[in-house]
């Protein structure tokens, strides 16, 4: 893991980066938060895409956002639409899809659209953290 630019932002401790978690289920967000905070990431939660934008525009979060983990089922928006929605707002922030749909076709199509990973719930904590770490590494390589 590289040196983080967002160290100490929320908690005074060294942060690995800021991750936005979007899911309509509070307990799912709580699980993801729990998993990522253990690895030193800071987490911002939102229940849908609209709230996510609101949340991130608050303060300086927008500049600091490193990764989005999102479900792909949201009101008025699904699948590829969801990707385009975030892309428009944050073109360079990598995306991990975390969903309950074990759909190979959708996963393939999304990966072709450039998402960093397609994870199906229930995902093991280690696997989620590895996926997040990989997304951060790719980000560094691309020089975002």
């Amino acid at each position: 893991m590289s040196e983080s630019k967002t160290a100490g932002m929320f908690s005074g401790r060294k942060s690995e980066g800021l991750v936005l978690v979007v899911d309509d289920e509070p307990d799912v967000r709580k699980v993801v938060r729990m998993t990522l905070e253990k690895a030193g990431y800071d987490v911002v939660e939102a229940e849908d895409g609209e709230k996510a934008i609101e949340e991130i525009k608050k303060g300086e979060n927008s500049l600091l956002l490193n990764l989005i983990i999102t479900d792909i089922r949201m009101p008025n928006m699904n699948g590829i639409d969801v990707l385009n929605y975030y892309r428009k707002e944050w073109p360079s922030v990598p995306l991990i899809v975390l969903t309950g749909f074990p759909d190979l076709d959708m996963a393939t199509s999304m990966l072709q659209h450039g998402i960093s990973d397609y994870l199906v719930k229930p995902v093991e904590a280690e696997k989620l953290r590895a996926s997040v770490a990989k997304a951060f590494e790719q980000r560094e390589v691309r020089g975002f």
């Binding site: 289920e25 799912v28 699980v31 729990m34 009101p75 008025n76 309950g100 074990p102 229930p122």
Partner: protein, 344 residues
């Protein structure tokens, strides 16, 4: 009743054989059932006949003697009745009794068995449509359940452990609810009898299953229910009918649009409509949608038996199934079923 083109039939014997025969004969357009008789007032087919508004009597002779009857079907299995029929029937009236009626009854049973197997097969084949939706609904709570359980193993703070445990229980209950819904739907209709069915509750129950037909969640549901709509049917068959029509509606909208469910009572008829704002059905296809094996869906999404079965089920309860559709605007299916009469 005495349309010259129709064969007027009376049935003697209202046991199991009588019920099966009534079911079959009332389906046939060329047959009019003029009455059914059994000496036992509690014989099962008598109450069924009452629902179908077919005259019933305990006085067998009164039916045997009628001059306007083309055919007497005797399923009593009682040799004394054979004698009674032979002596008292009108000379023009034909009789189906003894071994012949036994063969007829066996055929009826056979057909009804095949029919119910067909319904069940179609239903189970259709379950594939719901697989993704069901998996999604289970995977979410399952994720919560597994992650919090692992966390509890390491967590030492008792209040946090308790909070996690509560979330785990809630997630477990959600999975339990999903499994109950699925098994209720998958259950074969033959395991239950015809009974008054609360239409509104059944529509809501069916919606829970039909929702699995889409992975999207931007469906608007409009429910417009009259307070109490009860019709007489096999509840599992009606469940299947509703799930089928709602699933079609959701597929027609590609998971996006408004699904309107309504129920009301009009002149002793329970009226149920299921309307979508989907792609609609072309006039050319509208004529074929009830034909067995007609489908515009890909093989994994439809067997082409769904609407055929829906119509067969509705017909069985002397109901009506109509459809209105506009290409590009949507489709409405309307079911009309006789209401449960209060006099019963």
């Amino acid at each position: 009743m005495n349309n010259p083109d129709r064969t007027t039939v009376v049935i003697l014997g209202a046991g199991k054989g009588g019920t099966a025969l009534l079911e079959l004969l009332t389906h046939l357009p060329g047959v009019a059932v003029a009455g059914i008789a059994d000496q036992d007032a509690s014989a099962p087919a008598l109450s069924y006949a009452r629902q179908l508004e077919i005259p019933i009597t305990q006085d067998l002779l009164s039916l045997i003697r009628r001059p306007d009857i083309h055919l007497i079907v005797n399923v009593t299995g009682d040799p004394n009745i054979d004698g009674l029929v032979a002596t008292h029937k009108h000379s023009e009236t034909e009789v189906l009794g003894g071994a012949a009626s036994k063969v007829l009854w066996d055929l009826v049973q056979h057909v009804s068995k095949i029919q119910s197997q067909l319904f069940q097969t179609e239903k189970l084949a259709g379950m594939g449509t719901f697989a993704s939706g069901i998996a999604h609904d289970i995977n979410n709570p399952l994720y919560i359940l597994l992650a919090f359980s692992e966390n509890i193993l390491e967590e030492t703070d008792i209040p946090v452990i308790h909070e996690r445990a509560r979330s785990i229980i809630e997630a477990g209950k959600r999975i339990q609810g999903i499994c109950q819904n699925i098994t209720r739907y998958a259950r074969a209709a033959k395991d239950v009898d015809t009974t008054p069915v609360n239409v509104n509750a059944k529509l809501d129950e069916a919606l829970k299953i039909a929702r699995y037909a889409t992975i999207l969640q931007d469906l608007s549901i409009v429910r417009s229910f009259d307070e109490k709509v009860e019709v007489l049917a096999n509840p599992n068959e009606l469940f299947q009918v509703f799930v089928n029509l709602m699933t079609n509606a959701i597929h027609a909208m590609d998971g996006r649009g408004t699904l309107t469910l309504s129920s009301c009572c009009e002149n002793g008829i329970g009226k149920i409509s299921i309307a979508d704002t989907g792609c609609g059905i072309s006039t050319e296809n509208l004529e074929k949608i009830f034909d067995p094996f007609f489908t515009t869906k890909s093989p994994e999404k439809g067997t082409g038996l769904g609407l055929h079965n829906v119509r067969e089920i509705i017909k069985k309860y002397r109901g009506n199934l109509t459809v209105e559709s506009q290409v590009g605007e949507g489709t409405t299916f309307i079911i009309e079923l006789p209401k449960v009469s209060n006099s019963m």
